[in-house]
């Protein structure tokens, strides 16, 4: 049965919206702290809708990094969206025309994908409702964070600095807990990352390339030695 109710989409999207408000608020503060203007930060959120990608992009842009560094790091960091899109494309219902895929792709974030995937078949009106409030939350949160950064006491700004990382930890930990290969892959990634952070000749490599190298090396190693089982369906039922 194709889920095609706009209002059900709105309803399912609201929890995502609230989560996005808090994370994007922290991102807004982070962006300003690195030297972006409020408009620059908000525009970035509006056009990208990705927390990890945006977090990585800010230091690259603010330090005047090479375009290649930005492009390749964004590809690697956001690569999981390619898999999600493949997965989502299997689930699109009859109401979704080819031209709809072009705007739906824009909003295929982790959380929106997870909720959409839990439906048997995704309709275009449902998806539109689903993406609407998270988009607003992500944009508004960035606006508020970027604006509030100057007004909030230093200690509050400092505490929020950890929020996005807390979210990353919350995403990774459940898998690490349950799956040995993933835990080891993460372990290797962290070891490499720490090496690139502290070892003298390695630490000169810009952040974007560091992320690429460490993530690709650890993922490829484990993809080779510990391939996952069959259908590639790794998301749990939401």
């Amino acid at each position: 049965m194709e889920q095609n109710s706009f209002f059900k989409g709105i309803k399912d999207g609201l929890p995502i919206c609230f989560g996005y408000l808090s994370i994007s608020f922290a991102f807004g503060i982070f962006a300003i702290g690195n030297g972006l203007t409020l408009i620059q930060a908000v525009l970035m959120s509006m056009t990208n809708l990705t927390s990890a990608g945006q977090l990585a992009a800010v230091p690259i842009i603010c330090s005047g990094g090479a375009l290649a560094e930005l492009a390749v790091s964004q590809i690697v960091i956001n690569l999981r969206y390619a898999l999600m899109s493949v997965s989502l494309s299997q689930k699109l219902g009859k109401s979704v025309k080819m031209r709809d895929r072009f705007w739906m792709a824009y909003a295929n974030t982790d959380e929106i994908f997870a909720v959409a995937s839990s439906q048997e078949s995704v309709g275009k009106k449902y998806f539109f409702g689903l993406m609407l409030t998270p988009f607003l939350g992500w944009t508004l949160g960035t606006l508020l964070g970027a604006g509030a950064g100057n007004v909030l006491p230093e200690i509050v700004v400092s505490s929020l600095g950890i929020a996005i990382y807390g979210m990353f930890i919350a995403i990774v930990m459940p898998k690490v807990k349950r799956e040995r290969p993933t835990a080891l892959c993460v372990g290797l990634a962290i070891v490499l990352s720490v090496m690139f952070y502290y070892i003298p000749c390695l630490k000169t490599i810009p952040s974007g390339f560091t992320i690429i190298i460490c993530a690709v090396v650890s993922s490829a190693t484990f993809a080779y030695f510990a391939p996952i089982n069959v259908c590639g369906e790794d998301e749990e039922n939401v």
Partner: protein, 103 residues
């Protein structure tokens, strides 16, 4: 150094293409095991690389950041929601920094 909008256009374009191309082009499932496995591990390795060791420098000082990190790890271990983990770890950082100010 490039104009901000050059960076932004490139970044937004890349992010969009990654999401759009597979959704529009791929009709069948990917079957290659290595590619599937690689794509499976990538989000976790990327997020881990971005988090460590940077998280320890994400707040006012390493001590409060360490406390916040440990809190996040514990809460995440018990499968708390994204917002709970993020919010409570931020709160613990706040408390630690407040305490170091007072003492």
């Amino acid at each position: 150094m490039y104009n901000y909008f050059v960076y932004l256009a490139l970044m937004a374009g890349v992010t969009y293409l990654i999401r759009m191309l597979p959704l529009v082009l791929v009709k069948e499932k990917i079957k290659n095991k290595f590619i599937l496995s690689f794509l499976y591990y990538i989000p976790y390795s990327v997020l881990s690389v971005m988090t460590f060791p940077a998280v320890f420098y994400s707040t006012g000082n390493v001590v409060s950041a360490s406390v916040g990190t440990v809190v996040a790890l514990i809460l995440a271990f018990f499968n708390k929601s994204l917002v709970t983990v993020a919010g409570l770890s931020a709160l613990s950082v706040f408390v630690v920094e407040l305490l170091t100010k007072i003492m």
